[in-house]
């Protein structure tokens, strides 16, 4: 077995090369203790390639660098495959000089030599190889040129140890860079070309002081249209239709001979529960494809740049803006996207705040309640909830910035890469990874939760029940109801609906329909006043997100942060809802009295 460590700066085509080398034969995991992807793949069965995170150096204290350093020291590495951007060797070779210090054989994959040629750069590969005492292979990973040479070379084996007659332990960055400059002087020539690059021309519009934000809003609108109107939602609706009108009735029929409880478990529990989540997959995937395109093209780095000033007010960097936006669609991919943020603090704070962005699943509850209670002001009520979510996130961001996350202020610097045409193969690969991760979760945690909820809503201590009112769930609802009494909705039905909302926010409405069993527009006003209805909606907006989100958070950030998040959101929701119900009630009475007295006199 040959162990190969793949290293390079961010944005130099490392992932593309890795995918070309390992094909579908790869595994994604986590490095112990940190939210950094650990990717391993195989070439020809006996060559293991470990894709280390993209880094600029080995010694500036980031998690990614620590992970890479430890792996090079302890991971039995036979060869370092160092991919560099040939059109920017000056900075890329700094990492190479640091890799040299590990005294391992190095193959330098000079990527993007086509970009190089366009820029008028000519490199003497042999000379570079001699100067750095490494093997050099020129490639164009994006066009799959030269990658076969890398494969052959890896297969050949017999990697020569460095000669050791040149020391690479420089006393300072300055010394390292002057060494690199000297090397490049001897083996690289560059024609000065004054032509404006495509990137410069595009940035004139994309980062234009006036046009920048309209362009951004347009792109976001397009993304949400694709997801929720044109592609994602229609497919999702189709699946939903298939599930409810074909799969479930068929399953009922097939199971008609088995006992009632078994049929109910399979159909009402597992198929409805897991199916209801899988139905969301098209939405999540379309959203992801859009984001991957924006990310791969180099636009996301510019969004981070544009939004940094705004986001900094709540203690986050500009990059955190993207997960927040995605949160309006679905919290799960939003939390997954937070992974791309540089600092641990940003990742955690973003994951804590993203659930306050009102996700798509909460919308049905708002619409139904708004129609029943606020008929003429429907739009106003629904948009006020979205705004309230943003406002609460902002407020809590400021609070966290000054308390919990105070000590860890990371400096914000990001490379603004050149624009690139996104590669279909890369988008396909990343989307496939996301889909399989999502399905895995559906098959495990959501499956388990569905069974639990089904059990609770169909049984009590004496056995199976016919009425949900007699179930354990109703008993739990009765226990929980007093908690919600100060918020204006202390009935067990609301408590149970909220509890079922933990499974998926859509199920709040579904549960209410089951429990109240009748026309909601007639029944709801019996249990809610206008103000308690709004307080209920505020609670829906802010309280603990669905089990999919909790599962994702657990996977990405561990139990401690997840438990904190669950508890913290409950508290925030309770307080906000309490304020709305009590202050709102007070104000309502005041206004009512005012109007009444007015009408008395005039």
């Amino acid at each position: 077995m040959i162990n190969v460590a793949l290293l390079g700066n961010p944005n130099v085509g490392k992932t593309t090369l890795y995918n070309l080398l390992t094909g579908s034969n790869q595994y994604v995991g986590n490095w112990p203790g940190v939210t950094v992807d650990k990717k391993e793949g195989f070439l020809f069965e006996n060559i293991k390639i470990v894709d280390l995170p993209g880094i600029y150096a080995m010694d500036t204290f980031s998690n990614e660098e620590k992970v890479s350093k430890r792996f090079l020291e302890e991971g039995n590495v036979d060869l370092i495959l160092n991919i560099v951007d040939a059109s920017n060797l000056n900075r890329n070779l700094y990492l190479t000089t640091q890799l040299k210090q590990f005294n391992k054989p190095i193959i330098l994959a000079l990527n993007m030599i086509d970009v190089c040629e366009n820029k008028g750069i000519v490199i003497d590969y042999n000379k570079l190889s001699k100067e750095l005492d490494v093997e050099v292979i020129p490639i164009i990973a994006g066009k799959n040129i030269g990658v076969d040479k890398v494969k052959e070379r890896l297969k050949e084996g017999n990697f020569t140890k460095p000669l050791n007659h040149r020391k690479f332990d420089f006393s300072s960055e300055k010394e390292a860079y002057s060494f690199i400059e000297n090397v490049l002087k001897s083996c690289m020539t560059k024609k000065e070309n004054m032509q404006e690059s495509i990137t410069e021309r595009l940035d004139k519009f994309v980062l234009h002081p006036v046009l920048a934000y309209p362009i951004f809003l347009l792109l976001m609108a397009l993304m949400f249209q694709l997801t929720f109107s044109w592609v994602g939602q229609p497919i999702s609706d189709l699946l939903d239709d298939l599930l409810n009108n074909n799969i479930i009735p068929t399953a009922h029929q097939l199971l008609s001979n088995s006992s009632a409880w078994f049929s109910s478990l399979i159909v009402d529990g597992i198929i409805s529960g897991v199916g209801g989540i899988i139905v969301l997959l098209p939405i999540i995937l379309v959203l992801f494809i859009c984001i991957t395109i924006l990310e791969d093209s180099g636009y996301m780095a510019r969004v981070a740049f544009m939004m940094d000033k705004l986001m900094r007010k709540m203690g986050l960097s500009g990059k955190a803006f993207i997960p927040m936006i995605i949160g309006f669609g679905c919290t799960v991919p939003a939390i997954m996207t937070a992974r791309t943020l540089e600092s641990e603090k940003d990742r955690k704070l973003t994951a804590l705040l993203v659930p306050f962005m009102s996700c798509n699943a909460r919308l049905p509850v708002y619409t139904v309640f708004a129609a029943v209670f606020f008929d003429t002001h429907r739009g106003l009520v629904v948009s006020s909830l979205y705004l309230l979510g943003v406002f609460v996130a902002f407020l809590l961001g400021i609070l966290f910035k000054n308390t919990y996350f105070k000590k860890d202020e990371e400096p914000f610097i990001i490379e603004i890469p050149e624009y690139k045409m996104p590669k279909i193969s890369s988008i396909y690969k990343q989307t496939l990874d996301k889909a399989s991760g999502f399905l895995q979760k559906a098959a495990t945690i959501i499956f388990a939760m569905s069974v639990v909820v089904w059990f609770l809503s169909n049984f009590n201590l004496h056995g199976m029940v016919n009425q949900v009112d007699d179930s354990i769930l109703a008993s739990i609802g009765n226990v929980l109801a007093p908690i919600f009494k100060p918020l204006g909705f202390g009935n067990w039905q609301s408590a149970v609906s909220l509890l079922s909302g933990l499974l998926a926010k859509e199920s709040v409405l579904a549960s209410m329909q089951v429990i109240f069993a009748g026309d909601l527009s007639v029944i709801l006003p019996i249990h809610f006043t206008n103000i308690s209805a709004y307080a209920f909606l505020v609670f829906i907006l802010l309280y603990t997100p669905c089990i999919s989100t909790i599962g994702t958070m657990q996977k990405e950030y561990g139990s401690k942060l997840t438990l904190f998040s669950i508890f913290f959101q409950l508290v925030v929701a309770w307080i906000a809802s309490f304020l709305v119900f009590n202050l709102g009630g007070f104000l309502y009475n005041l206004v009512y009295l005012f109007l009444k007295t007015n009408s008395l006199f005039f």
């Binding site: 920017n88 960055e173 300055k174 860079y177 980062l207 981070a304 740049f305 914000f412 610097i413």
Partner: protein, 74 residues
């Protein structure tokens, strides 16, 4: 004078970098070191951060950090 006092499109030579040690280390590793030529590319639409260019690539940095990148008088 610092890099912030340049106008977009203007260049200068770095004389020293002060400030947060983590940030200085990162900038050094990227080759943002004494003697390097640096250009102020553009300012964000909201006025902060800025994009600077050195060694052939663009880097976004906040003004409060960029203030610490001092330039030689030309």
């Amino acid at each position: 004078m610092s890099i912030c006092s340049l106008n977009p499109g203007e260049k200068g030579i770095i004389s020293s970098i002060k400030g947060d040690s983590k940030l200085v280390k990162r900038l050094f590793a990227l080759g943002c070191i004494e003697g390097t030529e640096v250009e102020l590319r553009r300012t964000a639409p909201l006025g902060d951060p800025i994009i600077i260019n050195f060694r052939g690539f663009d880097l976004a940095i906040r003004k409060k950090d960029a203030k610490n990148i001092l330039l030689k008088k030309l």
